[in-house]
């Protein structure tokens, strides 16, 4: 092959290779925050349901007065839930609420609630937020402790996230096909 041939081959191969290169780099790592709930409450003795009023952005969502959970809790603490960003959301806020007798057909009593605002995704990284739900923050009847009563029950703003640690988070139990969860949802 002469040098002219080599140049021609290179001239044809280079654009083709450049065109196909984006295909090789189109796979991104997931952007996710895993919420790990730890508590000294018992399941199902103290609680058997939880819900997550959620909103994009740094402000707390308005929590409905009724239970909006999707299924009974199984197993002991720690509990975990993954919050996955599909690219347009940089930050989110949520209220985690735990109920007793959540699936008895009547409005369940609220046991404990905590609000976390301005949780920030880290692009293409799986981060972890460990949130304590101590019995000390549990409500008594319709009265729940305020931050003045116990600082550990206060709302959390812009929490510090740590890299995902499989030794802290319980094993992932429900993997969707292709490693992707169900389509975006759950925004209130």
């Amino acid at each position: 092959m002469t040098s002219r041939h080599a140049r021609a081959a290179l001239a044809a191969a280079l654009p083709l290779g450049l065109l196909t290169l984006p295909l090789a780099g189109c796979r991104d790592d997931p952007t996710e925050v895993v919420l790990v709930l730890e508590s000294d409450l018992s399941i199902p003795g103290d609680i058997d349901g939880l819900d997550f009023p959620l909103a994009s952005g740094p402000f707390a969502p308005s929590a409905p007065s009724f239970f909006v959970g999707s299924g009974p809790l199984i197993g002991p603490f720690p509990l975990s839930i993954g919050f996955i960003s599909y690219g347009d959301t940089d930050t989110f806020s949520f209220v985690v609420r735990m109920f007793r007798d959540a699936f008895q057909g009547q409005p369940p009593p609220l046991v404990i609630s905590r609000t976390v605002t301005d949780v920030r995704f880290v692009d293409q990284r799986t981060m972890m937020l460990v949130l304590q739900m101590p019995r000390a923050c549990a409500c008594t009847g319709s009265t729940c402790p305020t931050p003045d009563d116990d600082p550990q029950c206060a709302n959390i703003q812009t929490p510090a996230l740590v890299p995902f640690d499989p030794l802290v988070a319980p094993p992932s139990t429900m993997m969707a096909p292709n490693g992707r969860p169900s389509p975006p949802g759950g925004i209130l």
């Binding site: 092959m1 002219r4 041939h5 080599a6 021609a8 081959a9 290179l10 044809a12 191969a13 280079l14 083709l16 290779g17 196909t20 295909l23 090789a24 796979r27 790592d29 997931p30 996710e32 895993v34 919420l35 997550f52 959620l54 994009s56 959970g69 999707s70 299924g71 009974p72 809790l73 199984i74 197993g75 509990l79 975990s80 839930i81 993954g82 919050f83 996955i84 960003s85 599909y86 690219g87 347009d88 959301t89 989110f92 799986t126 988070a169 319980p170 094993p171 992932s172 139990t173 429900m174 993997m175 969707a176 490693g179 992707r180 969860p181 389509p183 975006p184 949802g185 759950g186 925004i187």
Partner: protein
């Protein structure tokens, strides 16, 4: 109906003649035959003698008639057909190497892209709703 006729006529006119075009007659076969040498035309000789009017006079050309020996006359040489241009081998063409290089590069890139390990799967928790997607 008249409009349709006009349209049809225009369409036929645009289509062209229906009958196949007449093919040109094949060229007559080349026959090499002895050709007698044609005497070169003799240019009229202009004499220096002037006509009474002052213009130079043109003397008549002398044409000699005689027998022609066809055997002695040379034949018209028929040029041999030119040999077909020599075909260059495929591997010596730059187009071959360009296409081969492009295909090879594409195959390598696609192979790397398809065999690259995918991203780690999303983590789904152990409590309902397990995972929540944000747009």
């Amino acid at each position: 109906m008249a409009h349709v006729s006009v349209v049809l006529v225009a369409a036929f006119a645009a289509w062209g003649p229906v009958a196949p075009p007449s093919r040109p007659a094949p060229p007559p076969p080349i026959v090499s035959a002895p050709v007698a040498p044609v005497p070169a035309p003799v240019a009229p000789v202009v004499s220096d003698a002037e006509t009474p009017g002052g213009a130079p006079s043109i003397a008549p050309a002398i044409i000699v008639r005689g027998p022609i020996d066809a055997r002695a006359t040379p034949l018209v040489a028929v040029a041999a057909a030119a040999p077909p241009p020599q075909q260059r081998p495929l591997y010596k063409r730059w187009q071959f190497w360009a296409i081969a290089g492009g295909l090879l590069t594409a195959a390598i890139v696609l192979t790397v892209a398809e065999t690259r390990p995918g991203p780690p799967p999303y983590y789904t928790g152990n409590a309902p709703p397990y995972s929540i997607g944000l747009p």
